[in-house]
Symmetry: C2
Subunit: 126 residues, 2 copies
DNA sequence: CTGGGTGCAAACTCTTTGCATTCGG
DNA sequence: CCGAATGCAAAGAGTTTGCACCCAG
């Protein structure tokens, strides 16, 4: 019932930090290149475990795949609709009015996420 | 190259309004019950078309399936982490500070989405 | 009539699971 | 040692696509 520190977890966590906002599949590709023995299932299991323990965030933004973010500090995300890249945006203030409105609905708020859609600098140039 | 109004589209749009924030699969289930001849592919195609034309919003929140919202007015969503239900929250103000920060990153903003996570009134009672 | 839309089924992608094996503590 | 963690492969869930037929304009 106690958690164990394994090579795979370290490798996958490193990948998370290296590949900004990668999808599980991207993590797998990256990890598998350096350590072919690591299986897809393990990558998914470990990433899921990170999300559960709060070691990483699971981002479900536009796009079909789930992305992971090792930065667990509250912050926003800017999602480029052209290249699909996800950039971090310094968390400013939580939209308190929305928070209040939600509480009015009877919700007990645990968290929130903010995503901006747009075209990133690089894509604007083309 | 011109769009056509078909029975299926009407049926699916009605389903969208009836089933609050349904997933594509839920829409399919609902529509298929009343009109067994409507195929899954059509539901996905029509919903995708709605999203593209701006007739409906495509919500990619926590949870694996994509949800659709016929309410295209800007508004927030409150997502119950227990039952998975999605509730509308009156759009308050856009978090302008985050917007500004994003613009500083060089992004040309097209839109944004805000999601709150929590436990809805009904689930708190249990 | 004509080509956009639909139905069907097969294909695909991403993710999860069962089970025997491995190895961290 | 012992059971949590892996690897492999097969199963699932959700979504997309190819293609022939159909019907709205």
């Amino acid at each position: 019932m106690q958690e164990r520190q394994t090579k795979q977890k370290t490798i996958i966590y490193d990948a998370l930090k290296t590949l900004d906002h990668p999808t599980a599949t991207e993590v797998y590709g990256y990890v598998h290149e350096a350590y072919p023995s690591v299986s897809r299932a393990t990558v998914f299991r470990v990433l899921g475990g990170f999300a559960e323990k709060g070691t990483a965030l699971e981002l479900r933004l536009s796009g079909h795949e789930v992305r992971y973010d090792y930065n667990v500090m509250p912050h926003y995300h800017a999602h480029c609709t052209v290249c699909g890249r996800v950039a971090d945006v310094a968390a400013a203030g939580i939209p308190t009015d929305g928070l209040r409105a939600t509480a009015d609905c009877g919700f007990e708020i645990e968290g929130y996420s903010v995503e901006f859609f747009g075209i990133c600098k690089a894509c604007q140039k083309r």
